[in-house]
Symmetry: C2
Subunit: 176 residues, 2 copies
Protein backbone atom coordinates (compact mmCIF):
# COMPACT_ATOMS: atom_id res chain seq x y z
CA UNK A 1 0.00 0.00 0.00
CA UNK A 2 2.73 2.53 -0.59
CA UNK A 3 3.60 3.37 -4.14
CA UNK A 4 5.50 6.57 -3.66
CA UNK A 5 7.82 7.96 -6.28
CA UNK A 6 7.66 11.70 -6.86
CA UNK A 7 7.54 12.61 -10.50
CA UNK A 8 10.73 14.58 -10.14
CA UNK A 9 12.95 16.15 -7.46
CA UNK A 10 11.19 19.48 -7.42
CA UNK A 11 7.59 19.34 -8.55
CA UNK A 12 6.93 20.55 -12.06
CA UNK A 13 10.62 20.58 -12.84
CA UNK A 14 11.28 20.91 -16.55
CA UNK A 15 11.60 17.60 -18.33
CA UNK A 16 15.18 16.55 -18.85
CA UNK A 17 16.23 14.55 -21.88
CA UNK A 18 16.62 10.92 -20.89
CA UNK A 19 13.85 11.07 -18.29
CA UNK A 20 11.81 7.90 -18.44
CA UNK A 21 8.07 8.18 -18.74
CA UNK A 22 6.04 6.12 -16.38
CA UNK A 23 2.54 6.04 -17.74
CA UNK A 24 0.83 5.75 -14.39
CA UNK A 25 2.45 8.93 -13.17
CA UNK A 26 1.65 10.86 -16.32
CA UNK A 27 -1.11 13.34 -15.57
CA UNK A 28 -2.80 13.36 -18.99
CA UNK A 29 -3.03 9.58 -18.80
CA UNK A 30 -4.37 9.57 -15.28
CA UNK A 31 -6.97 12.18 -16.08
CA UNK A 32 -8.07 10.19 -19.08
CA UNK A 33 -8.45 7.01 -17.05
CA UNK A 34 -10.42 8.80 -14.37
CA UNK A 35 -12.65 10.61 -16.82
CA UNK A 36 -13.37 7.46 -18.81
CA UNK A 37 -14.18 5.55 -15.68
CA UNK A 38 -16.68 8.19 -14.59
CA UNK A 39 -18.17 8.67 -18.05
CA UNK A 40 -18.64 4.96 -18.41
CA UNK A 41 -20.50 4.67 -15.13
CA UNK A 42 -22.62 7.71 -15.80
CA UNK A 43 -23.39 6.51 -19.31
CA UNK A 44 -24.51 3.18 -17.89
CA UNK A 45 -26.85 4.89 -15.46
CA UNK A 46 -28.43 7.14 -18.08
CA UNK A 47 -28.45 4.47 -20.73
CA UNK A 48 -30.00 1.60 -18.85
CA UNK A 49 -32.63 3.56 -17.01
CA UNK A 50 -33.58 6.16 -19.60
CA UNK A 51 -32.15 5.10 -22.94
CA UNK A 52 -30.05 8.26 -23.09
CA UNK A 53 -26.44 8.59 -24.19
CA UNK A 54 -24.24 11.23 -22.63
CA UNK A 55 -24.53 13.79 -25.46
CA UNK A 56 -28.30 13.43 -25.28
CA UNK A 57 -28.29 13.90 -21.55
CA UNK A 58 -26.14 16.99 -21.86
CA UNK A 59 -28.58 18.55 -24.27
CA UNK A 60 -31.44 17.80 -21.92
CA UNK A 61 -29.50 19.23 -19.00
CA UNK A 62 -28.99 22.63 -20.56
CA UNK A 63 -32.50 22.75 -21.96
CA UNK A 64 -33.91 21.79 -18.59
CA UNK A 65 -32.10 24.67 -16.96
CA UNK A 66 -33.05 27.06 -19.76
CA UNK A 67 -36.66 26.00 -19.38
CA UNK A 68 -36.42 26.66 -15.67
CA UNK A 69 -35.23 30.14 -16.52
CA UNK A 70 -37.70 30.76 -19.30
CA UNK A 71 -34.94 31.11 -21.89
CA UNK A 72 -35.54 28.95 -24.96
CA UNK A 73 -32.37 27.90 -26.77
CA UNK A 74 -31.45 27.01 -30.31
CA UNK A 75 -29.08 24.19 -31.22
CA UNK A 76 -26.17 26.53 -31.54
CA UNK A 77 -26.58 27.92 -28.06
CA UNK A 78 -26.78 24.36 -26.77
CA UNK A 79 -23.55 23.52 -28.54
CA UNK A 80 -21.75 26.40 -26.87
CA UNK A 81 -23.09 25.61 -23.45
CA UNK A 82 -22.23 21.91 -23.64
CA UNK A 83 -18.91 22.37 -25.43
CA UNK A 84 -20.03 19.79 -27.95
CA UNK A 85 -19.71 20.51 -31.62
CA UNK A 86 -22.73 21.23 -33.74
CA UNK A 87 -22.67 17.82 -35.40
CA UNK A 88 -22.95 16.08 -32.09
CA UNK A 89 -25.74 18.39 -30.99
CA UNK A 90 -27.59 17.90 -34.24
CA UNK A 91 -27.52 14.15 -33.80
CA UNK A 92 -28.43 14.24 -30.14
CA UNK A 93 -31.33 16.57 -30.87
CA UNK A 94 -32.73 14.39 -33.61
CA UNK A 95 -32.62 11.34 -31.38
CA UNK A 96 -34.37 13.26 -28.62
CA UNK A 97 -36.99 14.51 -31.05
CA UNK A 98 -37.58 10.94 -32.17
CA UNK A 99 -37.96 9.89 -28.54
CA UNK A 100 -40.52 12.64 -28.02
CA UNK A 101 -38.51 14.27 -25.26
CA UNK A 102 -37.91 17.48 -27.19
CA UNK A 103 -39.99 19.84 -29.24
CA UNK A 104 -38.69 22.11 -31.97
CA UNK A 105 -40.20 25.30 -33.33
CA UNK A 106 -38.63 27.15 -36.19
CA UNK A 107 -37.83 30.71 -35.24
CA UNK A 108 -40.26 33.11 -36.91
CA UNK A 109 -37.69 35.87 -37.20
CA UNK A 110 -34.79 33.74 -38.47
CA UNK A 111 -35.93 30.59 -40.18
CA UNK A 112 -32.52 28.95 -39.97
CA UNK A 113 -32.86 28.70 -36.23
CA UNK A 114 -35.18 26.50 -34.26
CA UNK A 115 -36.03 26.79 -30.61
CA UNK A 116 -35.74 23.64 -28.61
CA UNK A 117 -37.79 22.84 -25.56
CA UNK A 118 -38.41 19.85 -23.36
CA UNK A 119 -41.79 18.26 -23.90
CA UNK A 120 -43.84 17.15 -20.90
CA UNK A 121 -42.29 13.70 -21.27
CA UNK A 122 -38.87 15.28 -21.54
CA UNK A 123 -39.44 17.28 -18.41
CA UNK A 124 -40.46 14.16 -16.54
CA UNK A 125 -37.30 12.37 -17.59
CA UNK A 126 -35.24 15.43 -16.78
CA UNK A 127 -36.67 15.61 -13.30
CA UNK A 128 -35.85 11.98 -12.74
CA UNK A 129 -32.30 12.15 -13.95
CA UNK A 130 -31.14 15.28 -12.19
CA UNK A 131 -31.25 13.72 -8.71
CA UNK A 132 -29.52 10.59 -10.00
CA UNK A 133 -26.75 12.68 -11.50
CA UNK A 134 -26.34 14.71 -8.35
CA UNK A 135 -26.35 11.56 -6.28
CA UNK A 136 -23.56 10.10 -8.34
CA UNK A 137 -21.56 13.29 -8.06
CA UNK A 138 -22.24 13.38 -4.35
CA UNK A 139 -20.95 9.87 -3.84
CA UNK A 140 -17.92 10.57 -5.95
CA UNK A 141 -17.01 13.63 -3.92
CA UNK A 142 -18.11 12.19 -0.63
CA UNK A 143 -14.67 11.00 0.42
CA UNK A 144 -13.14 14.44 -0.11
CA UNK A 145 -12.51 16.82 2.74
CA UNK A 146 -13.77 20.36 2.42
CA UNK A 147 -10.38 21.73 1.49
CA UNK A 148 -9.89 18.96 -1.06
CA UNK A 149 -13.20 19.77 -2.66
CA UNK A 150 -12.36 23.44 -2.89
CA UNK A 151 -8.99 22.62 -4.38
CA UNK A 152 -10.61 20.27 -6.88
CA UNK A 153 -12.80 23.07 -8.18
CA UNK A 154 -9.85 25.36 -8.40
CA UNK A 155 -7.67 22.81 -10.14
CA UNK A 156 -10.34 22.01 -12.68
CA UNK A 157 -10.59 25.69 -13.51
CA UNK A 158 -6.87 26.31 -13.70
CA UNK A 159 -6.04 23.20 -15.67
CA UNK A 160 -8.88 23.74 -18.10
CA UNK A 161 -7.74 27.26 -18.72
CA UNK A 162 -4.14 26.18 -19.22
CA UNK A 163 -5.14 23.25 -21.42
CA UNK A 164 -7.11 25.61 -23.65
CA UNK A 165 -4.06 27.74 -24.05
CA UNK A 166 -1.83 24.80 -24.86
CA UNK A 167 -4.38 23.45 -27.28
CA UNK A 168 -3.88 26.60 -29.30
CA UNK A 169 -0.12 26.88 -28.92
CA UNK A 170 0.70 23.25 -29.67
CA UNK A 171 -1.44 23.36 -32.77
CA UNK A 172 0.75 23.92 -35.83
CA UNK A 173 1.00 27.21 -37.69
CA UNK A 174 -2.19 28.87 -38.78
CA UNK A 175 -3.13 30.26 -42.16
CA UNK A 176 -2.77 34.07 -42.46
Amino acid sequence: MSEKAPRSPSPAAPARPGDPLQLDLFVPYRLSVLSNLISHTVATIYGERFGLAIPEWRVMAVLGLAQHQGTPMCANAVAQRTEMDKVQVSRAVSRLLAMGLLGRTVDKADRRKANLTLTAAGTTVYQQIVPLALQYEGELLDTLETDELMMLERLLDKLTKTARGLSASFRPAEAP
Copy 2:
Protein backbone atom coordinates in the same frame (compact mmCIF):
# COMPACT_ATOMS: atom_id res chain seq x y z
CA MET B 1 -14.09 37.77 -14.73
CA SER B 2 -15.82 36.41 -11.64
CA GLU B 3 -18.05 33.43 -12.08
CA LYS B 4 -18.55 32.33 -8.50
CA ALA B 5 -21.47 30.21 -7.40
CA PRO B 6 -20.75 27.45 -4.92
CA ARG B 7 -22.33 24.15 -5.82
CA SER B 8 -24.25 24.09 -2.55
CA PRO B 9 -24.25 25.70 0.89
CA SER B 10 -21.97 23.14 2.49
CA PRO B 11 -19.66 21.40 0.08
CA ALA B 12 -20.60 17.86 -0.83
CA ALA B 13 -24.03 18.29 0.70
CA PRO B 14 -26.36 15.47 -0.32
CA ALA B 15 -28.42 16.24 -3.39
CA ARG B 16 -31.90 17.47 -2.54
CA PRO B 17 -34.83 16.71 -4.80
CA GLY B 18 -35.62 19.78 -6.85
CA ASP B 19 -31.99 20.89 -7.01
CA PRO B 20 -31.24 22.22 -10.47
CA LEU B 21 -28.25 20.86 -12.30
CA GLN B 22 -25.93 23.34 -13.83
CA LEU B 23 -23.78 21.46 -16.27
CA ASP B 24 -20.74 23.66 -15.90
CA LEU B 25 -20.60 23.01 -12.18
CA PHE B 26 -21.05 19.27 -12.55
CA VAL B 27 -17.75 17.56 -11.82
CA PRO B 28 -18.13 14.58 -14.16
CA TYR B 29 -18.82 17.00 -16.98
CA ARG B 30 -15.92 19.26 -16.13
CA LEU B 31 -13.53 16.35 -15.89
CA SER B 32 -14.69 15.09 -19.23
CA VAL B 33 -14.18 18.47 -20.88
CA LEU B 34 -10.71 18.81 -19.38
CA SER B 35 -9.67 15.29 -20.28
CA ASN B 36 -10.95 15.59 -23.84
CA LEU B 37 -9.16 18.88 -24.30
CA ILE B 38 -5.88 17.38 -23.15
CA SER B 39 -6.29 14.14 -25.08
CA HIS B 40 -7.07 16.05 -28.22
CA THR B 41 -3.95 18.16 -27.96
CA VAL B 42 -1.75 15.22 -27.07
CA ALA B 43 -3.23 13.16 -29.90
CA THR B 44 -2.47 15.99 -32.29
CA ILE B 45 1.14 16.11 -31.17
CA TYR B 46 1.68 12.38 -31.46
CA GLY B 47 -0.35 12.07 -34.62
CA GLU B 48 1.14 14.84 -36.69
CA ARG B 49 4.73 14.28 -35.79
CA PHE B 50 4.86 10.51 -35.49
CA GLY B 51 1.70 9.08 -37.01
CA LEU B 52 0.74 7.55 -33.68
CA ALA B 53 -2.68 7.49 -32.07
CA ILE B 54 -3.01 7.56 -28.30
CA PRO B 55 -3.55 3.81 -27.81
CA GLU B 56 -0.47 3.18 -29.92
CA TRP B 57 1.54 5.63 -27.93
CA ARG B 58 0.44 4.05 -24.67
CA VAL B 59 1.60 0.66 -25.84
CA MET B 60 4.96 2.11 -26.83
CA ALA B 61 5.23 3.88 -23.49
CA VAL B 62 4.88 0.75 -21.40
CA LEU B 63 7.07 -1.28 -23.72
CA GLY B 64 9.69 1.43 -23.66
CA LEU B 65 9.81 1.33 -19.91
CA ALA B 66 9.78 -2.47 -19.84
CA GLN B 67 12.65 -2.49 -22.29
CA HIS B 68 14.51 -0.09 -20.07
CA GLN B 69 14.02 -2.56 -17.25
CA GLY B 70 14.79 -5.66 -19.28
CA THR B 71 11.29 -7.06 -18.74
CA PRO B 72 9.65 -8.14 -21.99
CA MET B 73 5.86 -7.99 -21.96
CA CYS B 74 3.04 -9.82 -23.70
CA ALA B 75 -0.09 -8.10 -24.98
CA ASN B 76 -2.05 -9.00 -21.92
CA ALA B 77 0.44 -7.43 -19.57
CA VAL B 78 0.36 -4.31 -21.73
CA ALA B 79 -3.41 -4.24 -21.48
CA GLN B 80 -3.29 -4.33 -17.70
CA ARG B 81 -0.65 -1.66 -17.48
CA THR B 82 -2.39 0.71 -19.85
CA GLU B 83 -5.92 -0.03 -18.60
CA MET B 84 -6.95 -0.57 -22.19
CA ASP B 85 -8.90 -3.65 -23.14
CA LYS B 86 -7.32 -6.46 -25.07
CA VAL B 87 -9.09 -5.56 -28.30
CA GLN B 88 -7.64 -2.10 -28.27
CA VAL B 89 -4.20 -3.46 -27.48
CA SER B 90 -4.46 -6.05 -30.21
CA ARG B 91 -5.26 -3.39 -32.75
CA ALA B 92 -2.63 -0.97 -31.55
CA VAL B 93 -0.02 -3.72 -31.62
CA SER B 94 -0.83 -4.77 -35.14
CA ARG B 95 -0.57 -1.19 -36.37
CA LEU B 96 2.76 -0.80 -34.61
CA LEU B 97 3.99 -4.06 -36.09
CA ALA B 98 2.97 -2.84 -39.53
CA MET B 99 4.86 0.40 -38.92
CA GLY B 100 7.92 -1.59 -37.96
CA LEU B 101 8.09 -0.06 -34.51
CA LEU B 102 7.47 -3.32 -32.67
CA GLY B 103 8.74 -6.87 -32.86
CA ARG B 104 6.84 -9.93 -31.73
CA THR B 105 8.17 -13.34 -30.73
CA VAL B 106 5.89 -16.17 -29.81
CA ASP B 107 6.63 -17.46 -26.34
CA LYS B 108 8.35 -20.85 -26.51
CA ALA B 109 6.81 -22.09 -23.28
CA ASP B 110 3.23 -20.93 -23.95
CA ARG B 111 2.48 -20.57 -27.60
CA ARG B 112 -0.62 -18.47 -27.01
CA LYS B 113 1.53 -15.62 -25.75
CA ALA B 114 3.90 -13.42 -27.69
CA ASN B 115 6.56 -11.14 -26.33
CA LEU B 116 6.54 -7.62 -27.62
CA THR B 117 9.58 -5.40 -27.92
CA LEU B 118 10.44 -2.08 -29.48
CA THR B 119 12.52 -2.38 -32.61
CA ALA B 120 15.44 -0.03 -33.17
CA ALA B 121 13.09 2.24 -35.10
CA GLY B 122 10.56 1.97 -32.30
CA THR B 123 13.15 2.89 -29.74
CA THR B 124 14.14 5.94 -31.76
CA VAL B 125 10.55 7.12 -31.92
CA TYR B 126 10.07 6.37 -28.25
CA GLN B 127 13.06 8.45 -27.32
CA GLN B 128 11.75 11.34 -29.35
CA ILE B 129 8.26 11.27 -27.95
CA VAL B 130 9.03 10.94 -24.27
CA PRO B 131 10.49 14.44 -23.96
CA LEU B 132 7.60 15.89 -25.93
CA ALA B 133 5.10 14.22 -23.65
CA LEU B 134 6.92 15.39 -20.54
CA GLN B 135 7.17 18.87 -21.98
CA TYR B 136 3.44 19.01 -22.52
CA GLU B 137 2.80 17.76 -19.03
CA GLY B 138 5.27 20.26 -17.66
CA GLU B 139 3.56 23.16 -19.38
CA LEU B 140 0.17 21.96 -18.25
CA LEU B 141 1.28 21.80 -14.63
CA ASP B 142 3.48 24.84 -14.81
CA THR B 143 0.89 27.25 -13.46
CA LEU B 144 0.27 25.14 -10.38
CA GLU B 145 1.84 25.94 -7.03
CA THR B 146 3.64 23.17 -5.19
CA ASP B 147 0.73 22.53 -2.87
CA GLU B 148 -1.69 22.48 -5.78
CA LEU B 149 0.41 19.93 -7.57
CA MET B 150 0.57 17.71 -4.53
CA MET B 151 -3.15 17.98 -4.07
CA LEU B 152 -3.73 17.18 -7.73
CA GLU B 153 -1.87 13.91 -7.36
CA ARG B 154 -3.79 13.08 -4.24
CA LEU B 155 -7.14 13.97 -5.79
CA LEU B 156 -6.46 11.89 -8.86
CA ASP B 157 -5.71 8.93 -6.63
CA LYS B 158 -8.69 9.37 -4.36
CA LEU B 159 -11.19 10.07 -7.09
CA THR B 160 -9.98 7.19 -9.21
CA LYS B 161 -10.29 4.84 -6.29
CA THR B 162 -13.79 6.10 -5.48
CA ALA B 163 -14.85 6.02 -9.11
CA ARG B 164 -13.76 2.39 -9.36
CA GLY B 165 -15.91 1.56 -6.39
CA LEU B 166 -18.92 3.40 -7.80
CA SER B 167 -18.42 1.77 -11.16
CA ALA B 168 -19.04 -1.55 -9.47
CA SER B 169 -21.85 -0.45 -7.17
CA PHE B 170 -23.86 1.44 -9.79
CA ARG B 171 -23.65 -1.45 -12.18
CA PRO B 172 -26.84 -3.51 -12.03
CA ALA B 173 -27.14 -6.90 -10.35
CA GLU B 174 -24.71 -9.57 -11.40
CA ALA B 175 -25.42 -13.11 -12.49
CA PRO B 176 -24.86 -15.78 -9.80
